[in-house]
């Protein structure tokens, strides 16, 4: 009993901080989402409007387009990051000259602030004067213009995200691979299993928890991407890269549409939880069931 109380005492500061900075703000956002509230409206006060904001979100073509673009962005970015990250992790598991140097270089993007990443990529991709359009034009005769081509802008945002965040996936998967026991691999080799069989039947199942955790982290990050994209394209051309995070930012900050913006935030949070739950039940739960 005594140790139980002491445990709660030690936990109390953490719980308090979580409550103050996690739970309370969420409850406030939830509360605001049930109001019409724009401080620069003729009536700047909060007006309770039941679920009107949520109803409006469902029929908001701009939000739905934004959601569609976000799903595509998240899919291409996260899948590419996981694939490249895995191969890089495998490469870094082996020995080659300059390994430590390359591993350090490879992780550098992680320490760059997203707003800087967006700025640098903007410099590199500005039509006609950026290095990337210049080289693509010189080498392949391609005209990359992220100011006019929706596909080009979308692709560049994905590539930028992959460049920025693949190192995180690599580091996580290196940690997972390092922790794997050698026995199952040796046993499989003795039994004549090939590299592909070893990957599908041993490596992948064993690193699945780390892989899913990594995908969760990247998925949640990608869903709320704002600063990089805002800096690079501003959400354009048109609304081509107006991903959900950018959409919420524009609704809440410049437009000060607090009620509606909060409703979108809550819905996006809900969708994120649902997607994560689906991933969890689809990838990990069956495995746990088998083990159980």
């Amino acid at each position: 009993m005594q140790s139980n109380k002491l445990g709660w005492l030690f936990l109390a500061p953490t719980i308090l901080v979580l409550f103050l900075f996690g739970v309370l703000p969420f409850i406030y956002v939830l509360w605001v989402s049930f109001h019409q509230w724009n401080p620069f409206a003729a009536n700047p006060n909060m007006i309770f409007n039941w679920a009107d904001n949520y109803r409006a979100v469902v029929f908001d073509a701009q939000f739905l387009a934004s959601l569609g673009a976000t799903v595509a962005f998240v899919f291409f970015a996260v899948v590419t990051e996981v694939i490249i990250g895995y191969f890089l992790a495998q490469a870094f598991m082996g020995d080659f000259p300059g390994k430590a140097f390359f591993r350090t270089i490879h992780t550098l993007p992680l320490i760059v602030a997203p707003i800087i990443v967006g700025s640098v990529w903007k410099l590199m991709t500005t039509p006609s004067i950026g290095i990337i359009p210049h080289l693509l034009d010189n080498w392949f005769g391609l005209n990359l213009n992220i100011g006019t081509s929706a596909l080009a802008a979308f692709t560049v945002t994905v590539v930028m995200d992959v460049w920025h965040w693949t190192p995180l996936v690599t580091l996580t998967l290196i940690a997972a691979l390092v922790s794997l026991p050698a026995d199952p691999f040796e046993q499989a080799q003795i039994d004549g299993a090939g590299p592909r069989q070893i990957f599908w039947h041993i490596t992948l199942p064993m690193i699945a928890p780390a892989l899913v955790a990594t995908v969760f982290i990247r998925l949640m990050d990608a869903l709320r991407t704002v600063d990089e994209v805002l800096m690079l394209t501003g959400g354009g051309p048109g609304s081509a890269t107006r991903y959900v995070g950018v959409h919420i930012f524009k609704e809440v900050f410049p437009r000060t549409n607090y009620g509606y913006g909060s409703a979108i935030s809550v819905i996006v949070l809900y969708l994120t939880i649902v997607v994560c739950w689906m991933l969890y039940t689809g990838l990990l739960a069956p495995r746990k069931g088998k083990e159980g």
Binding site: N38, P39, F40, A41, A42, N43, P44, Q62, K122, T126, P127, S128, I129, N145, I146, G147, T148, A150, T233, G234, G235, G236, P237, G238, S239, A240, T241, R242, K250, E251, F253, P254, R255, T256, N257
Partner: protein, 483 residues
């Protein structure tokens, strides 16, 4: 809005660092009065929040120390990014916490602040407390730009600290080149000189793009602030282009139930607005390719890199383009002119019934939530003293007092800038800031996505303006301004 412009302004600040002023360089008249007035507030600390720009930095680095030296009142000015500044200022005034005694007010947000009664009426406050009125502070000495910070009663709610106009810049080396002049004459039958009409401007732009591209030169006929996802393009059209066609105040008629569409009495989708958009879109098409990603800063950079023969450029950029050879390739080759206008627009502007371009800038306001209002009033007046203006104008290209134009250093700089300051003084009245709307960002953000669709070609220009007018009215109805 000025977030991106800050970068170029900062570059200018670096370039003038060698001539930067220090607090000890300033000589304040009536020092005894300031010492006496400040004595009652000795030990008080005033807190301000502003955007990090050269004019703001001059306040924190030069004016604040000098003020403290005289009065004993400490002034801490927090310089931060544009969005952070508004976030902090608005939350402070909204919650009534009284953290800030001075806040930066960009010209386009003043009406939103006034609608919320965030600001102290400076004119009235000084009239009520004549003992706080500084001898050398004179409201009448402020330029006409100060009118943008007056309330309905005509009183000042902010003391201007920076002011610029968006001007028509052209390359004098190209316009005065005999070979180019001859080629232009041969092609158009006209003499090559800065345009005064849209037709002339287009003709010049078409000529230069074709002529220079034909010679293999990376020079185009015009700039265009035509970003396809940033409000800079929206601003260029509604605040710099549409007014030159006679479409004012974004095409919204506040006196007519905030109507935007023609059918309800607005002009956002009028024939003039559609003509203006068609004109501008053509210019965008013959501008340097980077224009589709250009905001304020990039337009300045494009011109400074010598990639455009002419263009509409914000005044603060005009200064470094014309005078800073560490940043600009066209130093000494920059001419300044008034923007081209449609028939009747200049006459309307001269009669005070219209305007020909954008007058931008900002002021320092005193929040009603400030706990040190009297001490703040002293500092606001200190910022507007004639004797601090010359060094300030040289350190950051801004003028807010009429008397500053006559100072020797400013006259010298004016020559370098191709007469920019003279234009600001003599023709500044032809320009106007953002309309007196409290819903500035709200209507912009509601309509901007459609505007970006127009720029990408996903929506036709005429159809797009119709949609924007409808969307503006819908937003204004939601906000409760339109009944």
């Amino acid at each position: 809005m000025t977030f991106t412009r800050t970068i170029s302004a900062s570059a200018l600040a670096l370039s003038v660092a060698a001539s930067a002023a220090f607090a000890q360089d300033l000589t304040i008249e009536n020092e005894d009065w300031w010492k006496e007035a400040g004595a009652q507030f000795s030990g008080v600390t005033l807190r301000g929040v502003t955007e990090s720009t050269p004019p703001s930095n001059f306040i924190s680095d030069v004016l604040a120390p000098k003020f403290e030296e005289l009065t004993g009142i400490r002034v801490d000015v927090e310089t931060t990014s544009w969005d952070q500044m508004y976030d902090k200022a608005i939350k402070d005034m909204e919650a009534g916490t009284g953290i800030y005694d001075m806040v930066y007010i960009e010209q386009d947000i003043i009406y939103a602040y006034l609608s919320r009664d965030f600001l102290v009426d400076v004119t009235a406050a000084l009239a009520e407390k004549p003992e706080l009125k500084a001898p050398n502070y004179d409201e009448a000495n402020l330029t006409t730009f100060a009118d943008n910070f007056r309330g309905e009663n005509g009183n000042l709610y902010g003391i201007p600290m920076e002011a610029f106009i968006k001007v028509y810049l052209y390359r004098t080396d190209l316009f005065n080149d005999p070979e180019i002049q001859a080629a232009y004459k041969e092609k158009t039958g006209a003499d090559l000189k800065p345009a005064t009409t849209h037709e002339e401007y287009t003709q010049i732009a078409d000529f230069f793009t074709e002529y220079m591209q034909g010679k293999g030169e990376d020079i185009w006929g015009t700039t265009a602030q035509a970003h396809t996802g940033h409000p800079a393009s929206w601003y260029e059209f509604f605040e710099s282009v549409a007014p030159t066609f006679g479409v004012y105040n974004w095409g919204i008629d506040a006196a007519n139930n905030y109507s935007a569409s023609v059918e309800n009495g607005g002009t956002m989708n009028s024939a003039e607005a559609k003509e203006a958009l068609a004109w501008w879109l053509h210019l965008r098409d013959i501008a340097p390719p980077e224009s589709v990603q250009s905001t304020w800063t990039e337009v300045g950079t494009t011109f400074a890199a010598g990639r455009a023969a002419q263009g509409l450029v914000y005044g603060e950029n005009a200064a470094w383009i014309a005078a800073d050879d560490t940043k600009s390739k066209v130093v000494g080759n920059v001419g300044v002119a008034l923007p081209p206008v449609a028939e009747g627009v200049m006459a309307a502007a001269e009669a005070g019934e219209g305007y020909i371009g954008y007058y931008d800038g900002g002021a320092f306001g005193l929040p009603v939530t400030s706990k040190q209002q009297d001490a703040s009033l002293l500092f606001l007046q200190f910022m507007a003293l004639p004797e601090v203006q010359e060094e300030w104008a040289v350190a950051a290209p801004r003028i807010t007092l009429t008397s500053t134009y006559d100072s020797p250093k400013v006259a010298e700089l004016d020559a370098e800038l191709g007469g920019y300051y003279s234009m600001l003084r003599d023709q500044g009245k032809l320009f106007k800031g953002a309309p007196e709307y409290p819903f500035h960002a709200q209507v912009r953000e509601a309509t901007a996505p459609i505007f970006y669709q127009i720029l990408t070609g996903a929506v036709g220009p005429d159809e797009g303006l119709d949609q924007m007018a409808a969307k503006a009215e819908e937003e204004l109805t939601t906000l409760g301004y339109r009944k």
